[in-house]
């Protein structure tokens, strides 16, 4: 029985491979186009970030943090942390990573938030979506890294796609949560005063769900950042590269410094993105 079972292997892997082959054969133009658009987006962001002199950009980050949070401690910390990264020689790599994270988050928000809204309005859609989201978050990254590599070629784009696959469940789930927890009496208030479906969405549902959606976006940023090293494996530039190189050459000091730079970027992004308390007295 056991022998029979092992001898008659179901060619699941081959099926998937044939599917990917089919895609490359017939859809190559589409994938090339996507690759081109995303590639341009990432390199555009990177060049923009690198165009500004580092010290000026750090000052701008500090200013933005001050304007949003009005906290001296946080501002000093952010400026100090970024200066440290520059001192270690990872400024360019940090900006490359930042641009990858921003692009991935942008793509996630543009796709994820509407999907979350649609799912909140149609319970059957969320039921269908949930196992897919679970799969996207649990399946080992390397598994879909290979087909994305085949479809989009080497570089930042397959890194971005993998990052998006990994992080997009967060904004979808939290948008769904936020929209579906809008209290019934707010809906009714909107309807009773004659709101259309669009007005309900933009004047009642989205403002109510905004804090939750923002939490989803913050999570999305953090998840994207955690994919930096993976993205480096398929050729994306950024802080992942020195980490991978350090791993290959057993270079402890380089690994530590690059890792520290990733952590610093994570903390800075997290602190900046955390929404300030709703202004009560203004």
């Amino acid at each position: 029985m056991y022998d029979w079972l092992t001898e008659h292997k179901i060619p699941l892997g081959n099926w998937l491979k044939s599917f990917v082959d089919l895609l490359t054969e017939h859809g190559q133009d589409v994938f090339d186009l996507i690759s081109l658009v995303l590639g341009t987006l990432i390199s555009g962001f990177t060049s923009a970030l690198l165009f500004v002199p580092p010290l000026l950009l750090i000052a701008l980050f500090g200013l933005a943090a001050w304007l949003v949070h009005r906290s001296i401690g946080l501002t000093v910390f952010i400026v100090g942390a970024l200066l440290l990264v520059t001192n270690l020689g990872y400024w360019v790599a940090t900006m490359e990573t930042l641009s990858l994270v921003i692009c991935a988050t942008l793509v996630c928000v543009v796709i994820g938030v509407p999907i979350g809204i649609a799912a909140a309005h149609r319970p059957w859609l969320y039921t269908a979506l949930r196992p897919v989201l679970d799969l996207m978050q649990t399946i080992p990254t390397f598994v879909y890294l290979i087909p994305t590599l085949v479809l989009f070629g080497l570089g930042a784009v397959p890194g971005l796609i993998s990052t998006v696959i990994f992080s997009i469940p967060a904004p979808i789930r939290l948008t769904h949560l936020g929209i579906s927890s809008v209290p019934a009496n707010l809906y009714e208030a909107g309807k009773a005063f004659g709101a259309t479906k669009t007005q309900l969405l933009f004047k009642v549902e989205l403002p109510y769900a905004l804090p939750t959606i923002m939490a989803g976006i913050t999570q999305c940023i953090m998840l994207s950042l955690s994919m930096v090293v993976i993205a480096a494996l398929v050729g994306a530039d950024g802080l992942g590269k020195p980490v991978v190189r350090a791993l290959n050459s057993v270079n402890i000091s380089m690994g530590f410094e690059a890792g520290l730079a990733i952590v610093v970027l994570a903390i800075v992004l997290d602190r900046v993105c955390k929404r300030p308390e709703r202004r009560k007295k203004s």
Binding site: P183, N185, L186, E188, A189, G190, K191, A192, F193, G194, A195, T196, Q199, K203, V204, P207, Y208, L210, R278, K280, K281, S282
Partner: protein, 397 residues
């Protein structure tokens, strides 16, 4: 044309609407319908007309269907059968069947609503909450600001315009809710237990304010309440509901004096009749007073006589041969001039004098009260005996 009229409506929540309707027709109760079809009977066979300018209170325990039918007026609840007619731009529109555009127009211009849990948007300031309905309508800038400021002044919140709603107390939040409802200038106002979430003192104050506003703006108000005192205080008309059906609809006095069944009687048992009953209900009618020629006798011995003229108006008083002085008290509150009261021998008051006011007058002057209608015709007598019977609600005996 009534401002709002329910014509034999049934409301069913659940999937098996057809089955439930068939069971309603067969006369089954709400519990039977639930166990047989899995659908909940919201309302059955409700017919009610609310006239323009009237405050109609829907009363009942929770689950009696009062909010359910209120929400049918602006179609927050769908009606399974029957018509809900709302006067919109001069004609009666069946809200239950009208198209989306008409429904939206009605919601924006004709019917507005105040909610129990206020339903305010916490991310907006008081000003932006009040302007919500106008904003949905597409009204911009200066005009909106003008109307919002006017309504804020009306509810006394001018100084709070820029605050967020969670900085306000419950009573203030509901005033924002009221201002928001008034802002669209709708003729019909739906109020779904608007004051239930407030503490008793604030509730009382807001009820007074609402009555005060109503005297100025004359809306048609459909008000849901589970509090009989509130219903009797506010309502020109009261509809008592039980199990999705209206068991009695009428004026406060009607309900208090002639409860339609044991349920209503139980409901009104502990009611305070002082604010509800009026002279009309307690008085001894003029026709039943003993007469002698053009005089009406106020006591058994015939020593106190009131002379009436050809129109039935009391003109003079005869106390055992002595000429007495008639003093008149004004309004349903029965206000009277002090010096006049001291010298008078009998008081003439309007027939809609409240029982409470009659007692006050009686305590103040210890004089019999003659009630006259709007034309001045003698309508009846209200003395100690009538007042006591009114208090004990033994009006037929």
């Amino acid at each position: 044309m009534p401002a709002v009229e329910f014509r034999n409506i049934d409301i069913v929540f659940g999937n098996d609407v057809k089955g439930a309707l068939a069971l309603i027709d067969a006369g089954h109760s709400r519990e039977q319908i639930l166990s047989m079809t899995g659908s909940v009977l919201g309302a059955a066979g409700v017919s009610l007309a609310v006239e323009r300018g009237e405050i109609c209170v829907l009363m009942g325990l929770s689950g009696s269907g009062k909010s359910t039918i209120l929400r049918a007026i602006n179609r927050l609840n769908e009606v399974a059968r029957g018509e809900v007619l709302v006067e919109h731009k001069g004609r009666a529109v069946d809200v239950a069947r009208c198209d989306e555009a008409t429904l939206r127009d009605i919601r924006m211009h004709t019917v507005s609503m105040v909610f129990q849990q206020f339903g305010l948007l916490p991310w907006r300031t008081v000003r932006d909450n009040v302007g919500f309905g106008l904003e949905l309508r597409g009204m911009k800038g200066a005009e909106r600001t003008r109307i919002v400021d006017e309504k804020l002044a009306m509810v006394g919140l001018t100084n709070w315009a820029e605050k967020y709603t969670n900085e306000l107390s419950g009573g203030m939040q509901q005033r924002v809710g009221l201002a928001r409802a008034f802002a669209t200038d709708a003729d019909i106002l739906l109020m779904d237990e608007p004051f239930s979430a407030l503490d008793p003192l604030i509730r009382d104050k807001l009820q007074d304010e609402l009555l005060d506003l109503q005297r100025r703006i004359h809306k048609t108000i459909v008000f849901v309440s589970h509090d009989l005192d509130e219903a009797l205080k506010l309502g020109n008309k009261i509809a008592i509901m039980e199990g999705g059906r209206i068991v009695q609809a009428g004026t406060a006095e009607d309900i208090l004096l002639r409860p339609a069944n044991a349920y209503v009687a139980e409901f009104v048992k502990h009611m305070n009749p002082l604010n509800v009953l009026r002279g009309t209900a307690v008085m001894r009618p003029a026709a039943s007073l003993p007469r002698e020629g053009d005089c009406v006798m106020l006591d058994k011995e015939g020593r106190v006589r009131v002379k009436i003229d050809g129109e039935g108006r009391p003109v003079s008083l005869d106390l055992d041969g002595r000429v007495g002085l008639l003093a008149s008290a004004d309004g349903e509150a029965g206000t009277i001039d002090d010096t006049l009261a001291r010298n008078a021998d009998c008081i003439v008051a309007p027939v809609d004098l409240k029982l409470k006011a009659a007692i006050e007058l009686k305590r103040h002057t210890d004089l019999p009260i003659l009630l006259v209608d709007k034309l001045g015709t003698l309508a009846g007598l209200c003395d100690d005996d009538e007042i006591y019977r009114g208090l004990l609600r033994r009006l037929d005996g």
